[in-house]
Amino acid sequence: MTVALDELRAAAADLHAIAIRLRADVAAFEYASIADGWATATATRRCGSTVAGRLTAVIRDLEQDRAALDEAAAAYVAADDRAIRRMPGAAARSW
C-alpha cells in the first residue's frame, strides 16, 4: 500500500470542482424547451428533467466521494506508521 496525501487531497478538491462545474452545466439546459403545441415540447421537458435528475445524483455522489477522500486523508494523517499499514480496510469503509 502507498499513500500520497497530497494526491488524495488534490483529488478531493478536483471532485469538488467538477461537481460545481457540473451543477452549472445542468442549469444551462434543464429548463430549455420549445413552444407548446408539439409532442416534442413535452418530450423535451421530460428529457431535460430526466437527465438533470441523473446529473444531480452524480453531483451528490461526487461530493460524497470528495468527503470520503478527505476523510481517508485525515485518517492516514492521524495514524502512526504501524496503523497506516492497517489502514486500507479502515479507509475502504469510508467508501
Binding site: 502507498t2 500520497a4 483529488a11 420549445i34 418530450a43 421530460r46 437527465v51 466521494d65 486500507p88
Partner: protein, 481 residues
C-alpha cells in the same frame, strides 16, 4: 395532428437554439467525464491498496453515468436539430403553391414531431446500461452485415456500446449516423487531451512538434465547430481519429436527408485542414439547399477518410487514391444502407486529387450513387465516364480555363507524344474529365484568373460562383440544363 397555424408559429431557429443548449451541455459533461478520468489516474499514481481500488470503482461508476448523460444529451440535440430542419422544410412546403403541398407538409410535420418526441422519450435508456458482452464486427466488415448486426440489438445495447466502445463503433460503416456521431463526440475532447500530452512529451524531449501542433489546431477547430450551440446547421461527426489523421463530418444528418453528397478533397487534406474542407462542404450544402425543391433537405459529408498526399511529389502517383478506393466505397455503401425512409439521392464529388480517389473507387467497384462530380480533376484513373459504373449522363465535370491542373501532364506522356502525336486530353491520371472524349456532362465554372492560378484552383466552392451554383443543382438532383 399539427395545424398550419402551429407550424407557422414555430420558428425553426428557436428549436435550433434549444438543441444548442443540449449540444453545449453534452460537450461540457463529456469534459467533466474526462476531468474525472484525470482525477482517477492521479489517484492511482499516488495511492494503492484496497481503499484505492474501492475509490476507483466508485469513481468509475460515476464516470459511466457521465458518459450516459453525454449520450442522452447528444441524442436530444440530434432529435431537436432534425426536428428544426423538418420544421424549416415543411414551412417551405406550406408556402409552395402546388396542389396538395399543405396536406403533405402537415403530414411531414406530424411525423417529424412524433419521431423527435420518441427519440427524446428514450433518454432514460442511456442510464440502463446492459452487462451483455457484445462482440463488434471487425473493422472493414461490409456495411450491410454491420447494419444487420446493429439492427438486431436493443436500444439499451446500442446505448451501452456507444458509451463503452465509442472509438470502435464510429469506425464501422453500416452504423447509423446518429450513433456514430454520439460515439465520436464521446472521444472528441479526450483525443484532444491525448494529442496535447503527446506534444508535451515531444517538447520535453526537444523533438519537433510542428505536425502535432497542426493536428491539435485542426482538432480544436473541429471541436469548436461541431459543439457550437449557435450553429445554423447540425454537424454529424461520423469518424474521427487524430492518430490516423482521419475526420469524416457531415453537415446535416445523412440518414434523414433526401439528398446527400459526399465530398472528397485532395492534396493536403486531413485533420489539420479540416476547417477548409468543412467550409467547402457547408457551401455545397447551402448551394444544394438553395436549389432544392419543397420537401427536400440536403446533407454534405466532408470525407477525409484516407491518407491524402501531403506534397505535390506525393500526389504524383495513384497509390493513395487506389488505397482510398475501398474505404470510400465502404463508406458510401454504408450511407445508403443506414438511410432512413426512401433512399436518398446520393452524389459523390471529388475535388482535385479527390477526383482521382473518386474515380479509383467508382472505377473498381459498384457505388450506390446517382451522380458523380469531378471538379478540377487531374484525371480520374479511367478514360471514359462510362467506366465509373453509373449512367455516364450523370457524370459531371468542370475545370476552369485558368486552373493550373490543366497543365498536369505526365512527363512520360510527353515522351510518348513525341513518338505518337500529342494527346491534349490526357492529364496526369487519365483522360481529362472535361474533354469530349471522356464523355462526362461538362459544366462551366468560368475561366478563373490567369493571374491567380492557385485561387482559381481553390475557388470552386466560393459563394456566388457559377461552379458552386451548378454543383448545388446537381446535389439537389436538379441537373443544370
Amino acid at each position: 395532428m399539427v395545424t398550419v397555424a402551429s407550424l407557422l408559429a414555430t420558428d425553426p431557429d428557436q428549436v435550433r437554439e434549444v438543441a444548442g443548449y443540449y449540444r453545449a451541455a453534452a460537450a461540457a459533461v463529456a469534459v467533466r467525464g474526462d476531468e474525472l478520468d484525470a482525477t482517477s489516474r492521479s489517484l492511482r499514481g499516488g495511492w494503492s491498496g484496497p481503499a484505492q481500488r474501492s475509490a476507483e470503482a466508485a469513481l468509475s461508476g460515476v464516470r459511466a453515468r457521465l458518459r450516459a448523460a453525454t449520450g442522452a444529451l447528444t441524442s436530444a440535440d440530434q432529435a431537436l436539430s432534425e426536428f428544426a430542419e423538418a420544421i424549416a422544410v415543411t414551412r417551405r412546403l406550406v408556402g409552395d403553391e402546388s396542389l396538395g403541398s399543405v396536406g403533405r407538409s402537415l403530414r411531414m410535420a406530424t411525423a417529424a414531431d412524433a419521431d423527435a418526441a420518441r427519440r427524446l422519450a428514450e433518454a432514460g435508456i442511456w442510464f440502463t446500461a446492459t452487462s451483455d458482452r457484445l462482440t463488434l464486427p471487425t473493422p472493414g466488415t461490409d456495411p450491410a452485415s454491420v447494419w444487420s448486426w446493429w439492427s438486431r440489438l436493443t436500444d439499451a445495447q446500442h446505448a451501452t456500446l456507444i458509451t463503452t466502445r465509442s472509438a470502435d463503433l464510429m469506425a464501422l460503416d453500416g452504423i447509423p449516423a446518429d450513433a456514430r456521431d454520439n460515439a465520436a463526440r464521446m472521444t472528441l475532447h479526450a483525443q484532444s487531451t491525448d494529442l496535447r500530452a503527446r506534444r508535451a512529451g515531444l517538447a520535453a524531449d526537444g523533438l519537433p512538434t510542428a505536425d502535432l501542433d497542426r493536428s491539435i489546431a485542426g482538432l480544436d477547430e473541429i471541436e469548436r465547430r461541431v459543439n457550437d450551440p449557435g450553429s445554423a446547421t447540425r454537424d454529424y461527426v461520423l469518424d474521427l481519429d487524430a492518430n490516423r489523421n482521419r475526420a469524416v463530418v457531415s453537415i446535416g444528418d445523412p440518414d434523414r436527408s433526401s439528398d446527400v453528397v459526399t465530398v472528397v478533397s485532395g492534396l493536403g487534406s486531413g485533420l489539420p485542414e479540416t476547417s477548409a474542407d468543412l467550409d467547402a462542404a457547408a457551401q455545397i450544402r447551402a448551394a444544394g439547399s438553395a436549389a432544392a425543391g419543397a420537401g427536400q433537405d440536403v446533407a454534405a459529408v466532408a470525407w477525409l477518410g484516407y491518407d491524402a498526399p501531403r506534397t505535390l511529389q506525393d500526389a504524383m502517383g495513384t497509390s493513395d487514391a487506389r488505397t482510398a478506393a475501398e474505404p470510400l466505397a465502404r463508406f458510401v455503401t454504408g450511407q445508403a444502407v443506414t438511410h432512413q425512409g426512401s433512399p436518398a439521392h446520393e452524389s459523390l464529388l471529388g475535388y482535385s486529387y479527390g477526383s482521382t480517389v473518386v474515380g479509383a473507387a467508382a472505377g473498381s467497384q459498384h457505388l450506390p450513387v446517382s451522380d458523380i462530380v469531378l471538379v478540377a480533376s487531374p484525371g480520374a484513373t479511367v478514360d471514359h465516364a462510362a467506366d465509373l459504373g453509373i449512367d455516364p449522363s450523370r457524370v459531371w465535370a468542370t475545370t476552369a480555363a485558368a486552373d493550373p491542373v490543366r497543365l498536369a501532364h505526365d512527363p512520360r506522356d510527353t515522351a510518348r507524344d513525341l513518338l505518337t502525336g500529342h494527346q491534349p486530353d490526357h492529364l496526369w491520371f487519365g483522360t481529362d474529365p472535361t474533354s469530349s472524349s471522356f464523355g462526362a456532362q461538362v459544366f462551366d465554372s468560368g475561366s478563373g484568373s490567369w493571374w491567380h492560378p492557385i485561387a482559381t484552383h481553390t475557388g470552386y466552392f466560393d459563394p456566388g460562383t457559377e461552379s458552386l451554383e451548378r454543383i448545388g443543382d446537381i446535389v439537389a438532383g436538379r441537373p443544370p440544363a
